[in-house]
């Protein structure tokens, strides 16, 4: 039988597709979306792209909190009483059909005036009439067609986010002035004694002067500020010689035109600032759809349902008090620590630990914040408020409040220290020498040295090399937060890996059977029993057993919550469940297992194991020669023996590490002078990621989840991880080479300067030439290197 694809989402429909309107659907959810769209003449959705949809999530009651006036106030961007504007972040936006259907929301809801999608940011901005639509209706509507908005605690202060466009203005002003000044300065370069030029050159010069003022004082102000800050911290960063060069260029040019000595270097000045800013602009690669600053707030819901005397009430998470009774629905996140009161709890802690097999809890058990309920609704009693919960406490650690360290020394700044001292001494000596040869030339030579030494090419090589590499990495799905990260990667000495979710995958759980072999019929019976159970482990096991279940109905079936199943089929009794339930002594420590008992005879157990990521061994083998490797895990030592055998001999292992322990472990290493790179995935690694020199988050879905970090690596590319490290190191080598070249340019320029021959024409040729050739050099080389190390 040919399996059919769902008309809506493209998933395999299995053996029994739901047929509606002569189309196959994999589930009722997809069919419903089709019905909604069909009824509103929006089926064009399916013409733009085949099977564009996503399976809608269950929403009953989920958005009730959007009725709370306080929360509405916080989420709305604008509200004048009749019209409101709201922006939703919708991770499932992925194709042109999505844009189309979301922008036609007004056909589905009368209150919607306009809806606009920002595809790169995956946001939807809806303008709606308050009297016709409620925020809750809109959220439910878009969820019902498969676009669930992601509303988190972080959205509270959404209004504060503003894009800083200063750099764009600065670049465009510099570009504008550079172009015009170049045109105005051309005449004097070529026809020095021409009659009309003699007459107009004053006009040209003063026009250039006027245009260069905003360039120096607005576009170039960043260099002065940075140089000043650097000097205050007693650091000679690269901006010091740049600021010096800019000031000297400006002062000397102004003096020249005021005293009618010459035409000045205004074109070189504007060009210099333009190129420098361009480098800054190029390096500033941002991934709009990613966030590197997320903490628990990004994942926690904005509101929860509180039960007061049997009545459900929505309250903001921050208002949760000790002793409150909360209702957690299916697929909702537990925001605080608490005790399970009633309900069927199967908590998925993958956000926290990376472990995706749900943990089953019984009433009276403690629940920790950060877990996600995966079946049905539960009630819990709060024992800690949000800021005091086990997980969220981590964020009160100093690492998260550490101000951004200004004194980070990058490669360019290290060199610029010597560079600045060198040019200052050259200028000084040249000044003295020329004073004795020809005093009238001394001023000229000193300023010329400072002008030509202005390290434009030097300052450009790193931004362009790193900027280009960031782009190449991003294209390959390794997203770096900023340029410094790439430099820091090249200094790493120790690499630490988290275990669950990082070196194991959370997708594929391996199931292994241990015990006496089961016959075909026994497997069939087990599968028949599992079919009746809704427990997450039952469902995984059901998928695992490939035999067909019997079509007969079970004679008896009893599910003991959190323990197991008693069932029988035609005189055969089957018991499935935990070791306790079956009545055997468990010798398995760390793994989840289902024991099997058929006709009162213990047969064996199914063990649920996380499978390790592909290429794990190769990754460790490649890295072991250059780095110290450590596995830092929150789990117990269950898999230690296996890992020790599997991974290179010198790998260090640390088990039973609490989130704070991980952080302190890294701190200790750093105190011993190690530069630490941490690879982690869950919120429990957040402290370690923040403390390490470079924190890399492994993420199965980069749009949805990753703790605060310096870089995000798509989980599928884990085996390429060493290659990224190699490429980072190569990039630094390229930068060093280009430094040598740009210093050669400076030497050539120095010859003109010291011999007193630096005319504006020479500067106007030499400066752009050196800058552009360096940019071309590093761009070609980085592209070539990354192609050679095919990633």
């Amino acid at each position: 039988m040919i399996s059919k694809e769902c008309y809506h989402c493209g998933a395999d429909c299995g053996k029994k597709p739901i047929i509606f309107d002569e189309k196959n659907f994999c589930c009722n959810g997809c069919k419903t979306v089709y019905e909604i769209l069909n009824a509103n003449e929006l089926t064009c959705y399916y013409d733009l792209q085949s099977s564009p949809g996503t399976i809608p999530k269950e929403i009953k009651g989920k958005f009730n909190y959007l009725e709370n006036q306080d929360i509405i106030e916080k989420l709305l961007e604008f509200n004048d009483g009749t019209i409101s504007v709201v922006e939703f972040y919708i991770p499932s936006i992925h194709c042109s059909s999505c844009i189309w259907v979301l922008e036609n929301l007004s056909k589905l809801n009368k209150g919607v005036i306009t809806s606009m999608v920002n595809f790169p940011n995956k946001t939807l901005r809806i303008t709606f009439k308050n009297d016709l639509s409620q925020l809750k209706d809109l959220a439910e509507l878009i969820t019902s067609i498969g676009y669930e908005p992601y509303i988190s605690l972080e959205d509270d202060n959404k209004k504060l986010h503003k894009v800083d466009k200063t750099l764009i203005y600065q670049v465009s002003i510099a570009a504008f002035a550079f172009g015009n000044i170049m045109l105005l300065s051309f005449p004097e370069y070529f026809e020095v004694d021409e009659f009309w030029l003699e007459k107009y050159k004053y006009l040209f010069r003063w026009l250039m002067f006027v245009m260069v003022i905003p360039v120096v004082f607005y576009s170039g102000k960043g260099y002065f500020i940075s140089a000043y800050k650097g000097l205050k911290h007693k650091i000679l960063n690269i901006d010091v010689p740049i600021a010096l060069g800019i000031s000297v260029l400006f002062i000397r040019s102004t003096v020249e035109i005021v005293l009618d000595i010459g035409t000045g270097f205004f074109d070189s000045l504007a060009g210099l600032i333009f190129f420098l800013l361009l480098g800054k602009f190029f390096q500033q690669k941002t991934y709009n759809f990613l966030s590197f600053e997320r903490d628990y707030k990004s994942y926690f819901p904005i509101a929860v349902t509180k039960i007061v005397n049997g009545v459900e009430k929505n309250i903001p998470v921050n208002d949760i008090k000790k002793g409150d009774r909360l209702l957690i629905r299916n697929e909702e996140l537990i925001p605080v620590d608490g005790i399970l009161i009633n309900g069927n709890a199967a908590i998925n802690y993958s956000f926290v630990t990376g472990e995706s097999v749900p943990t089953v809890k019984q009433s009276g058990d403690k629940l920790f914040a950060g877990g996600k309920q995966t079946q049905g609704a539960i009630e819990m009693e709060v024992i800690n408020t949000i800021s005091q919960s086990y997980l969220t406490q981590l964020w009160s650690n100093d690492v998260f409040n550490k101000p951004v360290d200004f004194t980070i020394k990058n490669l360019t700044d290290t060199i610029s220290k010597y560079f600045t001292i060198a040019i200052l001494s050259i200028a000084f000596i040249a000044g003295i020498v020329w004073y004795f040869i020809n005093p009238s030339m001394a001023f000229n030579v000193v300023t010329a040295v400072l002008i030509i030494a202005c390290p434009c090419a030097l300052a450009l090589s790193a931004p362009f090399a790193i900027g280009n590499m960031l782009r190449i990495f991003g294209y390959k799905k390794f997203y770096l937060k900023n340029a410094e990260t790439l430099e820091k990667i090249s200094k790493i000495t120790t690499i630490i890996f988290d275990k669950t979710g990082t070196i194991t995958t959370s997708h594929k759980t391996q199931i292994k059977y241990v015990g006496t072999d089961l016959t075909k019929d026994e497997l069939k019976i087990i599968k028949t029993v599992l079919r009746a159970s809704n427990h997450p482990l039952s469902r995984s096991l059901y998928e695992f057993i490939k035999k067909k279940p019997f079509s007969e109905k079970l004679t008896t079936f009893e599910e003991v919550l959190g323990k197991g199943i008693n069932a029988s089929l035609n005189n055969v009794t089957v018991q499935l469940g935990s070791a306790n339930f079956i009545g055997v002594n468990s010798n398995i420590l760390n793994e989840t297992a289902i024991y099997v008992k058929i006709n009162n005879e213990v047969k064996g157990n199914f063990i649920f194991q996380n499978s390790y990521r592909e290429g794990l061994k190769e990754v460790f083998e490649t890295l072991k020669d250059n780095y110290k490797l450590v596995i830092l895990s929150g789990d117990n030592e269950g898999e230690k023996a296996f890992l020790e055998d599997f991974l290179p001999k010198n790998t260090q292992f640390q088990f039973n590490q609490k989130p704070e322990d991980k952080l302190n472990f890294i701190k200790k290493l750093q105190q011993n002078g190690e530069k630490v790179l941490m690879v982690g995935d869950g919120l429990n690694d957040a402290g370690a990621l923040a403390q390490s020199d470079v924190g890399i988050a492994i993420s199965e879905d980069v749009n949805v989840f990753s703790p605060a970090c310096d870089a995000i690596l798509d989980a599928k590319l884990f085996n390429k991880f060493p290659k990224f490290l190699i490429l980072s190191n190569k990039t630094m080598k390229i930068i060093k080479t280009s430094f040598v070249i740009s210093l050669l340019y400076n030497l050539i320029g120095m010859y003109f300067a010291l011999t007193g021959q630096l005319t504006p024409v020479v500067a106007a040729i030499l400066m752009p030439l050196s800058s552009i050739s360096i940019v071309v050099f590093v761009t070609i080389l980085t592209n070539w290197v990354s192609r050679k190390n095919v990633i």
Partner: protein, 67 residues
């Protein structure tokens, strides 16, 4: 040759005019999302053809009825 004052003046005014327009378009957020509009511009046509198709169908149904 006094005309040079005018030509240069005019050219600079024009240049500044366009520059201001550019800055304003940046400010209004025109360059923040450069992808979605490229897709969006293709949609209006789709909608129209769809409506046309419907109309034709409706008309066909009508004509069938009247027959």
């Amino acid at each position: 040759m006094e005309v040079v004052y005018i030509t240069i003046g005019v050219s600079i005014v024009v240049a500044i005019f366009f520059f201001i327009i550019f800055i304003r378009s940046v400010k209004s957020g025109q360059y923040e999302d450069t992808y979605t509009p490229s897709v969006r511009m293709l949609f209006d046509d789709e909608l129209v053809t769809k409506n046309d198709k419907d109309k034709i169908e409706v008309e066909e149904n009508k004509s069938e009825l009247t027959k």
